[in-house]
Every structure is written in C-alpha cells, then in structure tokens.
C-alpha cells in the first residue's frame, strides 16, 4: 500500500460525501475565508518592517517582532485547538489489510503537516524575511530565523494534537487549553516568568548561532514520536476504536412532564446531551460562555464601546443555543429513519429542542446578572439580548437546521475525531451573532443605547408572539427536506 492509495481514499471520502455535494456554497465561502487570511498575512509580512521602522525609529524592527513572537505562538495554539482537527481517516477497514500499522500512523501525522494552518504563517514570515535581507540583515541568519519559525509552527501543530487528545480523554473539553493558554499568559503578564523575553532570547540566539536550530528540530522530533506512539496504541480494536461498555446512570426525569406532549422528546434530548461525549461538551462550553464577559467588561478599552455589550450579551446568553442548536437535527441523525417512521408530530420534536434552548437562555441570563457590577447598562443589554435570543435566534437556528445534511456519529470515540467541529459550523454561527450586532449598532449610532436595546427587545417579542406561526413554517421546511435528510444521515461521511 503506497501513499497514493491513502491519498486516493481520502480524496474519495471527501468528495463523495453527501455533505460536500450539497454545500458547494459553504465550500466556496471557506475558500474565500482562506484567501482573505492569505492576503492579510501577506500584507502584514510586507508592511510590517516599514511600519515598525517608521513608528519606532530608534528600535530594531526585527527585535520588536521577536519580542511579540510569544503572543503569536500562543494565539496559534488557541486557534488550532478550535479549528484544526487531526485529519480523520477511517482506519478500521485498513487494520486487517497487509499494511503496517506504523505506516497508517505516519500517513495520518504526515498529512497533518500539510495543513493550511502550517502554511499560513509562511505568507507573513517569508515576505518579512525578504524585507530583512533587503535591509542588510545577514542572509544566512535570516534564513535560519525563517526556518526556525516554520519549525516552531510545526511543533505547535503536533503539540495541538497532544493537547486535543488529553482534553478529549479527560472529557474536560475546552478547559485544559483555556487553562494552559490563560496560565501562560498570566505568568508572562505578571512577569513571574517572562516568556516574551525567553522566546525572543531563544530565537535571537538561533539567529546568532544557527547551530542552535538543532534544539527546535529535536523538540519537533520528540513531539512527533509522542504523537506516533499515542496514535499507534489507539489503532487496536479493543482500545479506542471499539467502544467501551458504560455503566448506565439512569434517572427518571419525571419533571419534564410539565412540558406536555413534548415530554418524551425532552427526556430523550436530556439523555442525549448527558450520555454522549459530543453534546456533553456543549455543557462545559456554558462555563466558558459565562466568563466570556470578563474578557470585555473589566477592560477600560471597552468601557466606551457600549455597542459591544449587546454582542457579549448575545454570546453569553446564547452560547448553549448556538452550540447545541447548530447541530439540530443532526444529533438525532443516527436514528432519524426510525423517528420518521414513528407516529410522531414533527412539531413536538422541534418544540422540545426549542424549549431546551429557551430554558438555557433564561438560565444563562440569570447567571450573568452579576455582571451588573460593571454597570447597569450591561444588565439591560443582556436582558435585551436574551429576549432577542429567545424570540429570534432560536427560530433562526431551527430554520437553519432544516438545511443540515451532516451526520453526527454520537457513538464515535475520540481516537481519530477530537473536536468534530470544523470551521464550517463556526461560519454558520456568524449570522446569529452579526445580525443583532448590526441592528443594535445601527440603532446605537443613530439614536442611543436604550433605543438599541429596545429594538432587540421588540424584535424578540415579535418572534415570541409569532412563535406558533414561525414553528409551523419551520416544520414545513423540515417536512420538505425529509427524504434528503434521511438519505444524507444514512451516509457515513
């Protein structure tokens, strides 16, 4: 089995999936986003040197750049954690074929180094390096500097998979990465250990003595080996490719009866969330969402930007809505056929999801009340955002769900599928956040803060008043795409 076989398998898996064929528009959008970043980085790389030279005439631009590399790397780690996945390859069928296990693993890891994330920095690093050379920096040293940055990028690439696998094994979801990045940032910020100087010192010593490049190369090799042995261990049916039998934690959930005919679905949804790894992570996200405001409100920079409050409010009160809602009805994709042949009303099914989302918004709003400490306007903005979420965003996301054609395998274990959330799902989230921001921003600009909040509340109330009508319309949409969904959910992608 040669590399080209692997590649052709990958190619077919990607282009023959229902998902690819049905969402050309999204793919085009993704390409544009990628292009946008390439151009931005390119511009940055070309313009950085002259800008720094102009702004800080008495400092060496190269040194300034080096001193900020720590933040660059930290941001890189964070970005990758949320957007990059270890390339998924369905390895189970390959196990019984005459291919060495190590080859499969090498392939998966090797493929990851061709990720877009690894090439993106080059678009900034190379032009900047060229600018350095033009400005009479020593040629060899600059080349080694560029190579070093690239190697560190690869180190982050492989480090990310280790972090991802740790966080998926421990089921703590995003907490480890937030803790790690936050911790490093804090240690640096309060000058306990100055990573800024450490990183810039290390890089400039390689710049001065190119031989030191051996050190990052060794680190890279070390991380590769760790990844390799980790993955190789997982390539057995009895370890992670096969699911472990779990002891049942049962609870009767009788209180859901209050929700009437949607009760059986509510119970099902709650079990779905609690008993499966993927949806369970949306619970952990709640915690992060709740503290999201702390990034903004204490910061004096944002004190004069009250239009940000509505955005934060939408995010804080709607984080579960966005996270859980964007995969409706794919959460049920595994047994969608069964649901469709049962004696159920689509409306009840959707009502259960709606109720869950509304309850989450209310809970998040109540929990976010302490933010009033930073100003009464924040409370008002959060209230308006919550109403908007309940009245508008819930319906929008349910409507969006009727275009959902991507199956989610709830039973799938962590081995080759860490996050499962690609950039695509994040893009779908944009209209949910940008619409209210635009409305609020416009009202704020033309009138004032209170009118902005009022606009969101009015829209939300309109949505609540027309809830039944909207739900009927959404139900129609789901019925229309019933056969397509059944077909797509039946496919393994």
């Amino acid at each position: 089995m040669k590399i080209k076989h692997f590649i052709s398998l990958e190619w077919k898996q990607y282009f023959r999936s229902a998902y690819w064929q049905k969402s050309m528009a999204l793919n085009v959008l993704l390409v544009f986003v990628a292009l946008y970043f390439v151009v931005t980085f390119l511009a940055l790389g070309i313009a950085l040197y002259p800008i720094l030279k102009d702004t800080f005439p008495e400092q060496d631009p190269f040194k300034i750049v080096n001193s900020y590399l720590f933040y660059w790397f930290l941001a890189d780690v964070l970005m990758r954690f949320f957007f990059q996945k270890l390339p998924v390859m369905s390895v189970k069928p390959l196990l019984t074929l005459p291919i060495k296990r190590s080859k499969v693993v090498h392939y998966v890891l090797g493929k990851s180094s061709f990720s877009f994330f690894n090439f993106l920095p080059l678009f900034a690093v190379i032009p900047f390096g060229v600018m350095l050379i033009i400005n009479d920096y020593p040629l060899v040293s600059v080349i080694f500097w560029m190579i070093t940055i690239f190697i560190i990028t690869l180190i982050i690439n492989f480090l990310n998979f280790i972090i991802e696998s740790i966080s998926s094994e421990t089921e703590l979801s995003y907490l480890p990465i937030i803790a790690l990045a936050g911790g490093l940032f804090a240690i640096n910020y309060f000058n306990i250990i100055s990573f800024t100087n450490l990183v810039s010192g290390a890089i400039s010593s390689i710049y001065k003595t190119p031989l030191f490049i051996v050190i990052p190369v060794l680190i890279l090799l070390g991380l590769y080996v760790v990844n390799f042995s980790k993955l190789k261990k997982q390539l057995y049916l009895d370890s992670s490719l096969k699911s472990k039998a779990q002891e049942v934690k049962a609870s009767n959930l009788e209180w859901t009866r209050k929700f009437g005919d949607a009760a059986p679905f509510m119970q099902l949804d709650l079990k779905l969330i609690w008993r499966n790894k993927r949806p369970r992570s949306s619970i952990f996200i709640l915690v992060i969402g709740l503290f999201y405001g702390l990034f903004f409100y204490p910061n004096p920079v944002y004190q004069d930007m009250p239009w940000m409050y509505a955005f934060v409010g939408i995010f804080v009160t709607g984080i579960f809505l966005i996270n859980f809602g964007q995969f409706i009805p794919a959460w049920d994709s595994g047994y969608y056929k069964m649901l469709m042949s049962q004696n159920i009303k689509y409306k009840q099914y959707l009502k259960s999801k709606y109720t869950l989302m509304v309850v989450s918004v209310v809970i998040m709003f109540v929990l976010s009340i302490p933010y009033v400490y930073f100003g009464l306007e924040i409370l008002l903005a959060h209230f308006a955002a919550a109403i908007y979420n309940i009245g508008v965003n819930t319906h929008v996301i349910l409507f969006g769900g009727s275009f959902n054609r991507k199956k989610i395998d709830l039973n799938q274990r962590a081995a080759f599928n860490y996050q499962g959330t690609g950039a695509v799902q994040w893009i779908i989230g944009i209209p949910l956040m940008l619409m209210p921001l635009a409305i609020f921003g416009a009202m704020y600009y033309f009138f004032n803060f209170e009118i902005g909040c009022l606009a969101l509340i009015i829209l939300g109330v309109i949505g609540i008043v027309f809830h039944q009508k909207l739900m009927n319309f959404i139900t129609e949409k789901y019925l229309d795409s019933k056969y397509k969904m059944i077909q797509a959910f039946g496919q393994d992608n």
Binding site: E247, V248, K271, K337, M338, S341, Q342, N343, Q487
Partner: protein
Amino acid sequence: MINTAKLTKTYGSKTVLDIESLDIPKGQSFGLVGNNGAGKTTYFSLLLDLIKPSKGEIRSNGILVKESEDWKPFTSAFIDESFLIGYLTPEEYFYFIGELRGQNKADVDALLSQFEDFFHGEILNQKKYLRDLSKGNQKKAGIVAALIGNPEVIILDEPFANLDPTTQIRLKGIIKNLAEKQGVTVLVSSHDLMHVTDVCERIVVLEKGKIVKDLTTSEATLKELEAHFTGTETY
C-alpha cells in the same frame, strides 16, 4: 390491507423497483425473498415513506402512504440498527417507543413480560446502553420494540440474520402467532429460504426490482424456491 399499484423507484436511469401490482390482505404473513439488490429493502422503505416513489403509489389500509401520515399509528417496523437509539437502555427505548405509540409504562411492561423467553435474560435489567449490546441482542430489542402498541402492520427486514438458532426458532413462533392469532399483517424479508417458508403463508420473489414469483406456501414451496435460486445463480 396494503395495495401497491404501478410502483417504480429509479435512481438516475436505473430502475431498482418496478411492481405492477401487489396486494397484501389483512392478517397475512408475507415473505419477500430475493438476492442482494433485488429491491426488498427499497420496497419496505417506500412502505414506510422513507424514500419517495418515482411513480405509482402504496396504500396502506386505504391511506396513501406518500401523502398522508395517518398510516403511522398502526404500522411499525424494524429495518436495521439505525432504528435504535444507542444511548438509551433497552427499557428506556421500549418506554420511549411506547410513549410515541400512546402506551404507558404498564402497557409496555405487560408486553415485555411475554418476551422473557425471547430475550433470554440478555436484554432487560442489564444496565447497558443499546449501543453496547451485541448485534444479535440489538436486533432482539429492535424487533420487540416493533411489536409495541398493537400495530396492525409489522415490517421486519431480515429479522433472522445475526440471531442465534434458539432465538430464530422463537422468533418464528412469534411471527406465526401474530399473523394467525392476532390478525396482524406481517411483512418479512429474508435470505433464508427455510425460515421464510416456515413462517409465511405467501412468498414473493423479487429479482432486479420485479416480481418473478408469487407463491402460496405449501410442501413444495421450499423445493421450488431452491430450484429457482439455483437456476438464477448459474448464469
């Protein structure tokens, strides 16, 4: 009970099912046999409105399946494992299905108690999720779930596959009982000619989407089927 008229299903230019007419009376145990790709599962999927017919129609108890949903209350099915909800325990699954079919817990428990033999102590009270059961046990759970709520039409796709011999024999008993004593219309597909002839009063052979034989089961049926499939396999 079930009337099929001029039903075709095509994908592109390929016709996978083409049934001129097929009527299944109430209370019949009906067997569908055929090689892979003959259209058995396609027919059942059409019967459950999981796919759209290209032409023609199926009426179940007079209700046009592709347009109304009123056939759902009296129809139940187990096609494959995708009918199971993996993260529920078998009991929770049975109660969930029961609830969708208007049965309370006591009703479901009463029904389940009849199948203790069939479960062979491997389904109930195991403290395991359905996804962690073996294929055979998943199938048992799925088949019994299809019997909840006194359906008048039961559709089982390949119910004998993956089951152990004891369970296969018990399942045959269950299916016969449903059709003969309770007047339920049972539709079964299978690759096992022996089981089908044991269980079904009537057997239809599909080949490349068309009905090539429609037999009332008798002593000679098994021989005839075997001869048919031996013949078709040689060319």
